[in-house]
């Protein structure tokens, strides 16, 4: 089942996107490393992570951003996303346990642009702290 896509004329600044939550465990980091080709050992080796000055293993920033942008692509469709990005403000520490860590992603229509485009401002939290700074996307709507 696919939700109906949002229409440009029906959204206004302040329109909220449905919240997305996503749990990351150690195994997800191995999976993302293989899928993305990002084999930096700080994402799977305790020794490499602490050697780099980190408390323990952290998630790939691009795993966090990839999950966060699902909020936008689930809402508007993958093809609709023209621009996206953000700064990795805080590491997402992933403990070696079954619970893992939970990302909570929210988004709101911030601005309607010309050409049926809208800008989405996101908030990406882990343990109540914002882990991405200025995460944004620009999408084109029908």
């Amino acid at each position: 089942m696919t939700e109906p896509r949002p229409q440009y004329d029906a959204v206004t600044p302040g329109t909220a996107l449905p919240r997305l939550t996503h749990v990351i465990r150690r195994g997800d980091l191995v999976r993302y490393a293989g899928a993305s080709g990002d084999l930096n050992p700080i994402h799977w080796s305790e020794r490499a992570a602490t050697g780099a000055g980190l408390p323990t293993i952290i998630a790939h920033g691009m795993l966090t951003m990839g999950v966060a942008m699902r909020l936008v692509s689930d809402w508007a469709g993958r093809r609709a996303v023209l621009e996206c990005g953000g700064r990795f403000a805080r590491p997402v520490v992933v403990p070696d346990d079954e619970e893992g860590v939970e990302l909570v992603v929210d988004g709101v229509v911030a601005e309607k642009l010309d050409g049926s485009r809208v800008r989405i401002d996101l908030t990406v939290r882990c343990g109540g702290e914002k882990v991405l700074a200025r995460p944004r996307a620009v999408v084109t709507l029908n």
Partner: protein
Amino acid sequence: MPLNPAFAGRVYPATAPYLVGREKIREFAAAIGDTSCDTDDDPAAPPTFAIALTLRAEVEVVSDPELGLDLTRLLHREQRFEHRRPITDGDELTVTVTISEVGRVGGTDMVTLTSELHTVAGEHVCTTTSTLIAQGDD
């Protein structure tokens, strides 16, 4: 040790073409928890998929010992994507990396890179901007 400022502005030769496959898109999507293409048959890649091509090319560029970046402390600081169109199944893409900035802020070395993705036919598909850093000991 400061980074070598002579690297700023360098443009590297395009990488060998990468053939984007449907199963690679699915694998990448599944790794970020996106299973939407399992149901809607859309071969478009998730909007961050370009990273699977660009980061590898960029890490190779910054691994040049002449640049002086400490790879054991390498972290991703910032990332942006601008798409002309979505990357899709069957695209054969090259990556052209430019080092746009080299610098140091506080004790942190920073390199900003721009990568342009083109099809082998010359169509510009996507431009990415990334900042990679290596934090000092302090």
